[in-house]
Amino acid sequence: MIKVDGLSKSYGSFLALDDISFTCQPGRVTGFLGPNGAGKTTTMRIMAGLTPASRGEVTIGGHHFRDIPNPGRHVGVLLDASAQHDGRTGREVLTIGARTMGLPDSRVGEMLEQVSLTPAEAKRRVRNYSLGMRQRLGIAHALLGDPSVLILDEPANGLDPAGIRWMRGLLKAYAERGGTVLLSSHLLNEVELIADEMILIGRGRIVAQGDKKALLAERGTSTHVMALDSSRLEEALTANDVTWTPAGEGLAVEAEPVEVGRIAAEKGIVLIELRPAHGGLEELFLELTSDTQRDDITPGGPA
């Protein structure tokens, strides 16, 4: 439904986006994951027609955003939950949106209820909202026009764990009804919780994409192992041409756990720990973005 095709954006000599392409399908929640400054927000701003692309294009359902009449009825956008007038009440923010889109004012109450903002909270000025409340208001605004596509930039930012679970339920249900969701985050566990598909971006380039399982599968397996006598295990692995690196008190081995176990059994080495490494996507995320990260994290070093 959302198609990003060869998109590049440069600011002077700085290349913010470097030829990125991906698609988001209806019925799926697509997570757009990357460290800060990777280009997520720029991509989303280009999608919504707020920033011109240097090369390439984005189409939503085959249309450029600017060509969609009354776009709020088709594409719900939340780019920055803080970008609301401090002096307006939550209800008023939604009322302005509803009026622009030509929706009845009753829709405002429905949306407030859906994002669990109480009537008392809706009467308060946005100035007095917590970030979590602003996110709820922003999501209500994005859903106002009953769109079939949602583009949400860091929507889980500022939500508490219960809030994140609530949003997962909301977006899953939305996708199950056939909606398309693209949401960005710089936190892997947020995306892991909410998204079906993942797009990883670092320094303006897509570094990996696919669904969670596929991403792990294409990554080759490695094993974390700890032996009672580590030096004997190291010798045995080297003798079998298996590459290993020290990892904490154990070893990170580039082989299937079953193979490591067999080598150890042949030599009668006692193992006290043997498990597939990189169980979560966290390592994958760190590894894929480590060379594009601001903080210097040495990959493969002792943890």
């Binding site: 439904m1 359902g61 780019l79 009322t95 302005i96």
Partner: protein, 260 residues
């Protein structure tokens, strides 16, 4: 798992949706000016100031001075202070609070949004004019001086209208070019001051002042006498410099700017 998946991207059916009507955009812009405390205070200030100056003039003026035209024209300057600020904030409050992110995703045509703001500004200006005329008329009736209603022509209303609408449009133009409340308001008040200082110290400039200085060019509109053809021409060139030029430059800026 090996099921053949079609790679065709699903499309959005837009046939049932029509563009946001311009009237609705105007309505939203008017609402945005009046739904915050700052906006309400500003609109209230226009009303309060109008009532206040007419009241002061009512008690302070010499007998025989309490004519309708005098009452109406006393409101011109004080309203002229507030209306441009209204015009400025109509634009800059969106940029300052970054609500443009929302505004331009609900109506991607920035020109249409700006056009709606122009119409909203004109409507506010019109309300201010009607208010001034109404309160001036009320004061004239209360004063009940003989001949207070004499010599009122359509041109008097036109001149008053041009003054007030000119002020609010200049504010809007300054708002567009600076996109920042403080910078726009300060420039709006300081720049004309700078021009009149230049006029004072540079004799050569004084000859062309009426053509380029907005305040000088507007002076004939305040006086009760007829405005000459040359004065109209001077008003036109000064308006072009102080309203049209910044407006067009601001429009280009807004159209091209990256909305953040």
């Amino acid at each position: 798992m090996s099921a053949v998946t079609t790679t065709a991207v699903p499309t959005l059916d837009l046939s049932a949706t029509s563009a946001v009507p311009f009237r609705r955009l105007i309505g939203v812009e008017v609402r945005k000016m009046s739904d915050t405390r700052a906006g309400m205070w500003l609109l209230g200030a226009v009303g309060l100031i109008t009532v206040a100056v007419v009241t002061i003039f009512f008690f302070a003026a010499d007998d025989g001075q309490r004519t309708f035209l005098n009452f109406m024209l006393t409101t011109a300057s004080p309203q002229g202070f507030v209306l441009p600020v209204l015009g400025i904030l109509l634009v800059t409050s969106e940029w300052g609070q970054r609500t443009t992110l929302t505004t331009f995703t609900l109506e991607p045509s920035r020109q249409r949004v700006i056009a709606a703001k122009v119409v909203a500004a004109l409507l506010f200006g019109l309300v201010a004019i009607v208010l001034a005329v109404g309160i001036a008329a009320l004061a004239t009736v209360l004063a009940g001086e003989p001949g207070a209603w004499d010599d009122i022509g359509a041109d008097d209303f036109a001149k008053f209208g041009i003054l007030q609408i000119g002020g609010i449009m200049q504010g809007l133009a300054f708002g567009l070019i600076f996109l920042n409340s403080a910078a726009a308001i300060v420039s709006y008040f300081v720049l004309p001051l700078a021009v009149s200082i230049v006029a004072q110290i540079w004799a050569g400039f004084r000859d062309i002042a009426a053509w380029v200085d907005f305040n000088t060019a507007q002076q004939p509109l305040f006086s009760g006498v007829d405005v000459t053809g040359e004065q109209w021409a001077q008003l036109a060139t000064a308006s072009a410099i102080w309203i049209l030029l910044p407006f067009l430059a601001g429009l280009v800026r807004v159209t091209r700017a990256e909305v953040k």
